[in-house]
Structures are given as C-alpha cells and as structure tokens.
Subunit: 340 residues, 2 copies
C-alpha cells in the first residue's frame, strides 16, 4: 500500500458498524493521517479511542467535511442522503454503508473480491455504495459458482443477527434475555416482536408484493454486484436471537451443472471465503465461529436431491465486519491503490 | 366420539412429548379408562398427575402392556424397536412417535388431516407411525397446494426449537442462557455446539450424501404422507435458540401455477392450519405465537420472484403438539372412530 496518508471521517462513529470501522482501521494499519468522528447530536461530545488516542465525537453537519479525503458513512440512509453531497462537495470520496445510493445506476456497488473494476464509476458522483450486510455474505460463495456455471436462480433463507439492526438490536436481545433470566417482564422496542427465544420473519418494511425491503435488497443488489440482471433470487429474511454473524441457507441453480467436489474447489479459490465443510467432524460454520472474523465461512455443500443442476450450501459471516465495516474499508483500500 | 373407554399406555411419559401427551389426553377428554405411564429405569417410581390423580411411572418392560389397548410410544427409536412388538403381542395398537417404523412399507405414516385412509394399513403390523415433527408442520400447508397444483419440488429451510430434542434440549438452552446472564462458563452437552445465541445447521447424524438424517426425513416422509414419490424435496434443517415451535421457510413449485390469492384460499380450507398473513399489520407467524397452540400457522405467502410456478411461505407449529403428541392422539382418535 502507498505511504501516503489520508484524512478520514467516520459518520455514525458510535454505532455498531462505526465502532467496528474504528477497530478495523487500526487492525489493518489503514493510512490514516487524521481521523474525524461524526455522529448525531445525541452522541456528539463523547470520545472514542483510536490508536491509543482519545478522539472527540463531533456533531455531523454540512460543515463536517473540510479537508476530509475519505468519508465512511454508516449513519442510516436519511443522514447519508442529507450529508453525503456536502462531503463530496468538500472534496471527499464517500463510501456509504446505507441503502441510500445502492441502486443508483451512477453509483458503484462494490464487493472488492467480486467487482473491483466497477469502482472506476465512483467519479460520476464521488460516492461508492457498500452493499447490504446479508447480500455481501451471500454473494461471496455465489461469485465463483456464477463465473463457472452461470447462476439462474438462488433461493436464499437467512438467519440474521440482532447487531444487523445496530447497537439497539444488541441491547434489545441482551435486555430481553436478562429480563427472562430474572423473571421480569420482557419489553419490545427495537424489533417488531420479542426476539429472545423467538425468530421473526420480518426485517425492514413490507412492500406491496409481500416481500420486505430487506428481501428485495438481496434480489436487486445481488444482480448489480454480479453484473447479471438475469439472475433470479427468491429471498426469505429472518431475524434470530444471535448477537453477531448472519447465516444464509442458499440453494443455487446453475446453467452448467456443478458437481459437489467441483463446487468445493471453486469455493476454495474465492478470496475472503473459507470452505469449512467436514460435517462429520463437527466442522461446519455457525455464527459463534464467524463472529469477530474477517472471512466468511461456507459449509454444508451438497447436491440438491431434487434438481441435478442445483446445490445447497450454508454461509456464515460477521455482518459487522465483512457485511459492513470491513467491506467498506476494503473499498477504501482499493480506492487508494487505484485512484487516489 | 364413542362412549367406550380404553386402557392407554404412554411409553416415555416423563419426556417433553410424553408430558404433552398427558396434557392433551386431558384437554381432549380422550376416552381413557385406565392410564399406564411407562418410562426408563431412571424415571420409574416418580409420579405424574392425570385428571387430578397421581399416577406412578412404571419401568418400561416387555410385560408392561397386559390389558393395554392403545400404546403411545415416545421413548426413542431404540426403545420402540425393543418394546413395540411386545405391546402388539399383548393386543395393543402402537402409535409410535419415533423414527423406528416410519419408512416401513407395511406401517402407515399418518397425519389425520392429510392421509386418514392410509390408517387402514395398521392391521398388518399393529403399528402406526407418527411422522417427524418438522415434517408434520411442513406438510400441513403442502397438502392443499399439492391437491390443487401437484407439487414438483419443495425447498425447505427450518428453524427448529430446542424442545425438538426433548427435555434435555430445553434444559440446555435454559442453562446456557442463565450461565451467560451470570457470566459463568457455558457448558455443551445436548447439542453439538452452543445453542444459546447461536444457530446450528446440524440435527441428527450426517449421512454420506452430506445431508443429516433429519433432513432426509423431510424428503422421504413427505413423499409417503402425500402419497407421491415424484415430489422433490431439498431440505436444510437448523436448530435455533427457541424453546418451543418449529418454523419452516418453504418454497413450493407446482405443476399447475397457483396465484397467491388462490394459494391463500386453498390454505384456508386446510383443517388444523390457520392462515395468519397480514404482514403490514404485524400479523405473521412466529414461534412464540404458535407455542402451546394446536393449530399450525402459515403466513408470508407470496409469489416467487424467480419462478412463476412457485410460491414462498412460512409455517410455524408447536412441534410438541401438532408435531408430536397432538398428531399421535389424533391418530388414536381416528383409530377409535374407524376401527376399534
């Protein structure tokens, strides 16, 4: 990597993804010259530690971005829509973790291991979109299978951790579980139903066709990332009482038949993806294995018993890391390498 | 129902399913003349309450069945294999909740709302098999769709409660959660990995083709119950940290196209199944809704975006009730009505 350093802003620094971004900027020795931490009024004034130094969190505003070269946004779609243009105007490249710009045809939607060349399009708007967390985890195994066999159809069924809903999701599962443990009444606020000891097939808002917005993200973002509008995706997204790491059960139908051994070989070539598939020895991915790890893990790779052009697999990834903060920082690294 | 009464034995009376059987025999005013409770050496000597009376649990043995007319077995496949023949020899009809006899071509596998006429075959061996808990919950919505549109292929992805593994499963989730709440180390015994705050794509033993036995039950039992060997099933079964009620995300492909409205109409005609599908009003099934209920609940009914001959749906049922004890007792009721 270059020896140049950059002024980096993190908007939404106090959230679950924002805090993971800070940890990753440290871990990866990202070439930070100066770091500015931005958050809403509520969190402004608190401090966060970066490389052993206390950094004060400033209130996110239109004037926050003077001198900023790279702005990592993870403060929700509304704030991205409101403040990303100001950041671009101030000269920063915005890498946005929200859904605000993902489907804008003038804004690239990037998973660096999959479509790095699409990054070139960032100049049109100065904004690069980071995909939905479940989408990122899911497309990691899809990419090598698509390159080899051309994917026709994906049936994706998810098991999504509470931290996908941010710090308030973590807090809700923690509080509900503690209330249960002490026999106290369980209060519901972050999720539409009790999440402790329950599963909820409802993430984001329902649309007229019966799907949630979260489910439709899996459909449209997958096509954009893989660059193939002909891929069919049939999604069901479900919240589960897990703190960190999303799991997705995937059925993949390909034009060219892929035998199980070939699939394992293809998957093992994918950077950022670990084939973890010796089930009889207890080696298959679970959220507690993937939490805190940069890689996604794929296992339970097996031939579909009902369709000889399909395989089943099970992928798990830390959605705060690869599903959000890590992917955004990998995009920033790629941006520096190629364009800055 | 007849006014005659019967001597009933429950083998495995102290287990999670056995205890639910007792509660249901009471709730449904099952015509019990005398109830014998049987269990392994470990539980023999304890007492259980039935209709306000304490009944001593006896040790299950070959001589346990004298005078018994209906024997409900839920003590595991090994004990069913060992003791069901003795029960039959003593003159009882055995309704077996284990996997021991389900795929025996001479033994009917019954869901009373689906294939009641297959019950006639019970005379061949004197044994009737109760299907796997997840299979029962899943076939409830499949039946009316199959009758109308002929199912070609089902992709089933489950979210299975810990009580599917019996009382020890409930205890494990309870203990692990309490240990977490008090900062103590978490011990693993009933499940292959920690189940609290985790999901485990591993139920029952892995087979050479990469599927678990639990997954293959969904394939073969579904075909036997629906009486159609041409139905393809592609299963993924996953344990989740939920105490009671299994959920299954189902993608159903039919020969004849079924529009969503038609599917809802068909599903609403199915006895024992409740269409609960007004998602925008927060009305969709979750395990905490279905636990303790006799009915299964189906929602999230929507057109597959990737295949115009397929629909997606989400079914939830109390697997101790409809998935086990209730279905067994419904079989007994049907047996009495038609044959005893």
């Amino acid at each position: 990597m270059t020896e140049r350093t950059f002024t980096v802003a993190v908007a939404g620094a106090t959230g679950a993804v924002g805090e993971t971004m800070l940890r990753l900027l440290e871990e990866r020795n990202f070439p930070v010259r100066r770091l500015r931490l931005l958050a809403s009024e509520r969190s402004a004034g608190t401090s966060l530690t970066f490389r052993g130094e206390e950094i004060k969190v400033e209130r996110l505003s239109e004037t926050s971005f003077q001198g900023v070269e790279i702005a990592l946004f993870s403060a929700g779609a509304t704030r991205s829509q409101e403040f990303a243009p100001a950041a671009v105007k101030a000269g920063a490249v915005v890498i946005d973790n929200s859904s605000a710009f993902r489907m804008d045809p003038h804004i690239p939607l990037i998973v660096p291991e999959i479509n790095p060349d699409a990054l070139a399009g960032y100049r049109a708007r100065g904004i690069i979109a980071n995909p939905n967390c479940t989408t990122i985890v899911m497309v990691m195994p899809l990419k090598p299978l698509h390159d080899y066999g051309r994917i026709r159809r994906v049936i994706a069924t998810s098991y999504q951790a509470v931290s996908g809903a941010g710090a308030k999701g973590i807090e809700e599962l923690r509080r509900q579980t503690l209330a249960w443990a002490s026999g106290k009444p369980i209060e519901i606020s972050a999720f539409p139903k009790q999440i402790a000891f329950n599963v909820i097939p409802h993430i984001d808002v329902f649309q007229p066709n019966g799907y949630t917005k979260e489910e439709l993200k899996l459909v449209f973002e997958t096509r954009k990332i893989l660059g193939d509008e002909s891929i069919g995706v049939s999604p069901t997204t479900v919240r589960v009482p897990v703190f960190t790491a999303h799991s997705v059960a995937i059925n993949v139908e390909t034009e060219r038949r892929i035998e199980v051994d070939k699939a394992k070989e293809l998957l093992s070539t994918m950077p950022g993806l670990v084939v973890f598939d010796e089930p009889e020895a207890g080696r298959y991915p679970v959220p507690l294995l993937a939490a805190g790890k940069d890689e996604c893990f794929v296992g339970r790779i097996r031939a579909d018993l009902s369709n000889d052009h399909a395989i089943n697999l099970w992928v798990v990834g830390d959605q705060l890391r690869k599903g959000a903060a890590l992917n955004a920082i990998q995009i920033a690294e790629l941006l520096i390498d190629r364009y800055l």
